[in-house]
Symmetry: C2
Subunit: 358 residues, 2 copies
DNA sequence: GGTTAATATGTAATCGTTTGCGCAAAATAA
DNA sequence: TTATTTTGCGCAAACGATTACATATTAACC
């Protein structure tokens, strides 16, 4: 229910300035010089006398001058804006990556345009085109789940807009990539479970052909193998890894003749679903069944027991991605295509901690 | 540890296009017309023959033309970009609001620049200036905690950049505002606690002069009064409302001669801290002490018991803010300053549910 | 004093699109 | 047929900042 305010006098009377941004021409006129002199003065060009510079700076302040970046951008082809594409900005992980990118960008006076692809291929294509149109100086993207063709990124590159991928990447593009080592994260956490005495470790995974889930599965398998634990097909449950899926998967596993003594879910939500079922059935966590998830979602520290998980270094990833990008942007050499793989950290919490001191 | 890739041949050889965006002049040249004709054709101007239009569209597609929005923006003073300023983009609430804004903006082909003030006044000022410089068509902002002067926003308005505030707003500016009714949210949730049989309801609040906490406190007091429950100063605990603060506040309350039988925390984190302490001390939730928070942070549905809280309609707020903004932008009339107050929803969960059917 | 160099500023083109104005040619009206 | 309108397009000036090139003034040097 909107409340309509009475218009304030100031708003009506036009006592506010005349809605005209001042330009270098205004400053020039005031000082009886030309716009080029003003421009040079503002850029501290050595060919301008100190006297004039001071006068220009003073006038600029007086007139409350702010440069029109659009004009500047048009003139020299640099907008000082970078585009970031994420599947969705309100997932904690991506929100943090974006924050990490922004931190770096802001330091050197770059602005960030955030776009969401909603995992739609069409939207992703449009977004890339729009960003190119908007004249961004580069695109940092995490590709959508349904993207299998990459021409839109190639087009951007062809038009001189550098592209860099993070988290969800592909080798089909000639771009630098920043991601985390999903295999290692999974390996480490499964190893941890083994160290806690677990021997029948189940795994919740996703059937999609997305590399992250395949990597986590591989990490799980490799850790088992390296510790001489046989891999059992029946202990791997495929699903969408959401809360409900986790519940269903857990129920399914509880029906096995030989129950697992630990669950490693490739997502925290899946692990959370499992936790709910276990608690409902009064199965002790971690004594009877230990639990571990993946992603370090914010909620994992608030569950009871708190959930062991893998932190994906989201902020770091953002920082790193941005730093890499700006490095490549500044060096006028052809960017060196490189793949940076960050090492994830396992966060051990009570849901997997059977021994007191470990 | 970066992995350096071998450069792919394509990347070196320059087999990719020549990094030159095609312009309307390129199209014009190809068709032996002028750029103005091309421009008009692309804009479906009735003065251009169908024949020419078709030819232009075809050539545009062939040459992979994408308009340079920077040039267009310079020409007609509209960038089709809006700036959004939030204290921090990785807090669930703001991330969702931003998403809500983006949803609407995208529909009409607007891009969103996201900026974070980190609750720093200086950063906020800089950000506003930068956005004006960047030529945004408007600024949607949630003001920082430390902002008490608003000249930077006035300056933006003076330069013709409309401003609209959401969530954290102020009446000191001549702008439309979108927020939620904190008073009502608090009132409703306290009323709910009363209906559950609670009579000694404590409140965690924040001493800052931020209106949201004052409003929640008022809502709490009004609900008590309307149900003939005396207000007790000793049941109101001030803190920063973070997890630790909640723990401390709870411990403090447990030392009272007469313990409270419910806690309404102005933040979910505070409530979570209380929950931890109660569980440590084996105090039953909600039977002995019921709990309610505020904000509907994502973790609240995963606690044990799940936490009763107030949802702030973040996405809706974003949608609404953006819609309001674009309405005002489109109507060439002077924007009508209006205050929109959304009604929050209380989310009742087990932490406060004493009676089975309610 | 005349040539050269250094200094400080102006001129004008440019970035790519948009758009008011104008001008033919074609179409219609008288 | 002539007058008038309509149609289709070109011309050129914006938008605001930047910058290569030119110019004017002063200083410096032999």
């Amino acid at each position: 229910m909107p409340v309509i305010f009475p218009q304030s006098p100031a708003y009506i009377s036009g006592s506010m300035a005349d809605k005209t941004k001042t330009t270098i021409h205004d400053i020039a006129k005031k000082l009886n010089v030309t716009a080029s002199t003003v421009s040079r003065a503002l850029h501290n060009n050595p060919r301008i006398s100190e006297e004039t510079k001071k006068a220009v700076l003073k006038a600029a302040k007086q007139l409350n001058y702010q440069p029109n970046q659009i004009a500047a951008a048009l003139r020299h082809g640099k907008s000082h804006i970078i585009g970031v594409i994420v599947p969705t900005a309100d997932r904690s992980f991506f929100a943090s990556v974006v924050r990490g990118i922004e931190e770096i960008a802001n330091k050197i006076n770059y602005k960030v345009i955030i776009c969401q692809s909603y995992d739609s291929y069409e939207k992703e294509v449009q977004t890339v085109e729009a960003l190119v149109s908007a004249g961004v100086d580069g695109i940092l993207a995490s590709i959508g789940k349904n993207t299998t063709a990459f021409d839109h990124f190639k087009q951007a590159q062809a038009k001189g807009v550098p592209v860099l991928l993070f988290d969800r990447t592909t080798d089909e593009l000639d771009v630098s990539q920043v991601m985390i080592d999903d295999h290692l994260g999974a390996y480490k956490i499964v190893e941890h479970l083994i160290q806690q005495g677990c021997r029948r470790i189940a795994h919740f995974t996703n059937p999609r052909k997305i590399s992250i889930y395949k990597e986590r599965l591989r990490g799980y398998q490799d850790a088992l193998r390296d510790h001489d634990i046989p891999f059992e097909e029946s202990l791997v449950v495929e699903s969408n890894l959401q809360l409900e899926d986790g519940r269903n998967s857990m129920k399914k596993l509880l029906k096995l003749k030989k129950r697992p003594d630990a669950i490693f879910s490739a997502s925290d939500y899946g692990a959370m679903g499992a936790m709910q079922v276990l608690k409902e059935q009064k199965i002790k966590i971690p004594q009877e069944i230990a639990l571990a998830g993946f992603s370090n979602e914010p909620f994992t520290s608030f569950t009871d027991p708190p959930l062991t998980t893998v932190d994906q270094l989201s902020i770091t990833m953002g920082n790193f991605t941005a730093e890499l990008f700006f490095e490549q942007l500044q060096s006028d050499k052809k960017p060196i295509r490189q793949k940076t793989i960050l090492t994830p950290e396992i966060i051990i919490r009570a849901s997997s901690l059977r021994k007191e001191n470990n």
